[in-house]
Symmetry: C2
Subunit: 356 residues, 2 copies
């Protein structure tokens, strides 16, 4: 079969690779439909190896070169022994994490934090390929209302729900989202239907900010206004109850803390390329909380429901639909070189599943 | 009356000052017994003004020079109109904060975070003096079991309880305390009676660490062992559920995050003298939380109970008892120049209240 294989920094090759084996007990083999190009993939392509194992992965024994990609939808091709709830032809998505089931996080059902977590495309072969075989534990059915294209957004939507859960958001609160990327825009759509009293989005001008405005977001451009001052003014001097920080750079961490009210929460969704310097008194003096999140925490059911009933509609965020053969040029390179001109590029891995 | 007045950095003067007026409605006048020399006082003496107002304070209209000091005990001298629950002769302590009663934090009973909070010795005259007049809202009775000397520890003990509340500590958890100062040792004593499964204390060798060991703490000396590795080894590879970080320096923030388990909480009690650089991926990848606290959050009743029944006994932490006339030389200067040789110096402000 065809697959996009990570060999090294700036070296992903579209090539023939062995089709994954028939599923073993508790596994399913999935024919891949659509895959989103994610920020994590881009980090690994441009600056990796970050998570990509060069030594045998502790859970899977695999190491680079590996097929990349993890945000996806597909159709069950084959089920292994003991799998009762899925059958060939079922339309599905899956968690990017696979896990050991034995460690402390697994025993607490925090599978993304598994001590040996192997993520698709990072600790085991991923989904920029025609087929993938994975444990059934992370696989979820897509309801009829969710197309396979939209199904590839389940994983980042689950992350967005997770951020709000970890941030202990309650109806009636005010929220600031920093960053108008895919994660920020999905979060905005969820908040728009979750009883948030006011939602602000900090976003520099460009097509992402334009889309945020078009979707109805109240955008504050940090090149035009003092975001912290503006948020405070529009919240009666308080600051927001909750900030979702998706950008992961030093300036936005300080902005997040300062724009949040006393005793408020900042959820950090971004991944940092280097150590960050900031004034921790911004945390201490106002008793703010800084809460890390990594991937999802089992929120696929909520995410799928939002996508099914249209409260979350990622369609306008799809900046291009490409084929697997073009993933390097029109996917990775395009997203890196024209970051502000793209939100989400999705990749079709089997032509017969392009329209389902 | 005599008082210790902050005039500027390294310039605190023991001098005659006007006795505070008779209490107005809702106020009490307190004859001061014992006052602890606190880290905040030392910061203000050595590196101030930090909180000390040079312009009129928004709540009180006061500005430096001001009588300093805030951790104290005393006896009611006089009560103002409308004060029913206190009478002259009552033995008391009080919150260091006074507040406006109108702002968002006040309406949420988070008085220390009042937008106009005026702390004793910082936004209004403090307690390194013979008398102080303050609003009754922050005043608490001392039960007979709590001597006036021990009563001066109510405020830092309340802060320690607050840190555990904000850290959402539950019985059976493992805890790391970083820093063997007064705050760390009070926290240790509370945890020793609060169902913590294991408590570690990170402390460099010296009299503070020696006292911690003598009290029963399991001390890890960062100059002798890798604290993070040691904590992980002694917690089955996990790290602790909760870390209370009292040191407020860059190395201890990283230590705190790394020694805490996935999804665990770090409470930051320290105040920072400058911006801190650390790897926020230590927060994000393990979904840890960093929670700021500032002063107490209304935990005086719990603190007073702990001191009354002896579960918390600060007596061994008192490294010297001095008189108000000696507070600069034997208090501020001694604590700064011989930091590791002192834990808590307490200051008597009225000789007739020295032994009550």
């Amino acid at each position: 079969m065809r697959g996009a294989v990570w060999y090294g920094r700036r070296d992903i090759r579209i090539m023939d690779v062995p089709e994954p084996p028939s599923p073993g007990p508790g596994e399913v083999k999935i024919k891949v439909a659509w895959v989103g190009v994610c920020g994590t993939d881009l980090h690994e392509y441009a600056a990796g190896p970050i998570f990509m194992p060069l030594e045998p992965h502790p859970l899977t024994g695999k190491s680079a070169p590996l097929v990349t990609g993890h945000e996806f939808s597909g159709v069950i091709a084959e089920v292994g022994p003991g799998v009762d709830n899925f059958k060939p032809g079922d339309r599905v998505t899956a968690d990017s994490a696979t896990w050991c089931g034995e460690c402390w996080p697994c025993r607490h059902e925090e599978f993304s934090l598994c001590d040996k977590a192997a993520f698709l495309g990072l600790g085991r072969d991923g989904v920029f390929a025609e087929y993938v075989t994975i444990p059934v534990g992370g696989v979820f059915h897509l309801p009829p209302e969710v197309s396979l294209q939209i199904g590839s957004f389940c994983e980042p939507t689950a992350v967005a729900v997770h951020a709000l859960r970890r941030g202990r958001m309650i109806p009636g609160e005010t929220v600031l989202i920093i960053g108008p990327g895919n994660q920020g825009l999905l979060t905005w759509q969820i908040l728009n239907h979750s009883g948030a009293f006011k939602v602000f989005m900090a976003a520099r001008k460009g097509m992402r900010a334009d889309l945020a405005r078009k979707l109805g977001a109240e955008v504050l451009d940090p090149t035009e206004v003092d975001v912290v001052a503006e948020v405070k003014e529009r919240t009666g001097g308080l600051g927001v109850d909750l900030t979702i920080e998706t950008a992961g750079v030093p300036e936005t961490v300080s902005m997040a803390l300062q724009a949040t009210r006393k005793l408020g929460r900042v959820v950090e969704v971004g991944i940092f390329e280097k150590p960050v310097t900031f004034d921790l008194n911004d945390l201490v003096f106002c008793e703010r909380e800084l809460i890390g999140i990594f991937n999802n925490g089992g929120e696929f059911p909520q995410a799928i429901q939002f996508l099914a009933d249209g409260r979350v509609d990622p369609t306008p965020m799809i900046s291009n639909r490409i084929s697997l053969e073009d993933v390097v040029e029109k996917g990775f390179e395009e997203c890196i070189n024209n970051k502000r001109g793209n939100i989400k590029v999705i990749v079709n891995c089997n032509k017969d599943l392009a329209d389902l």
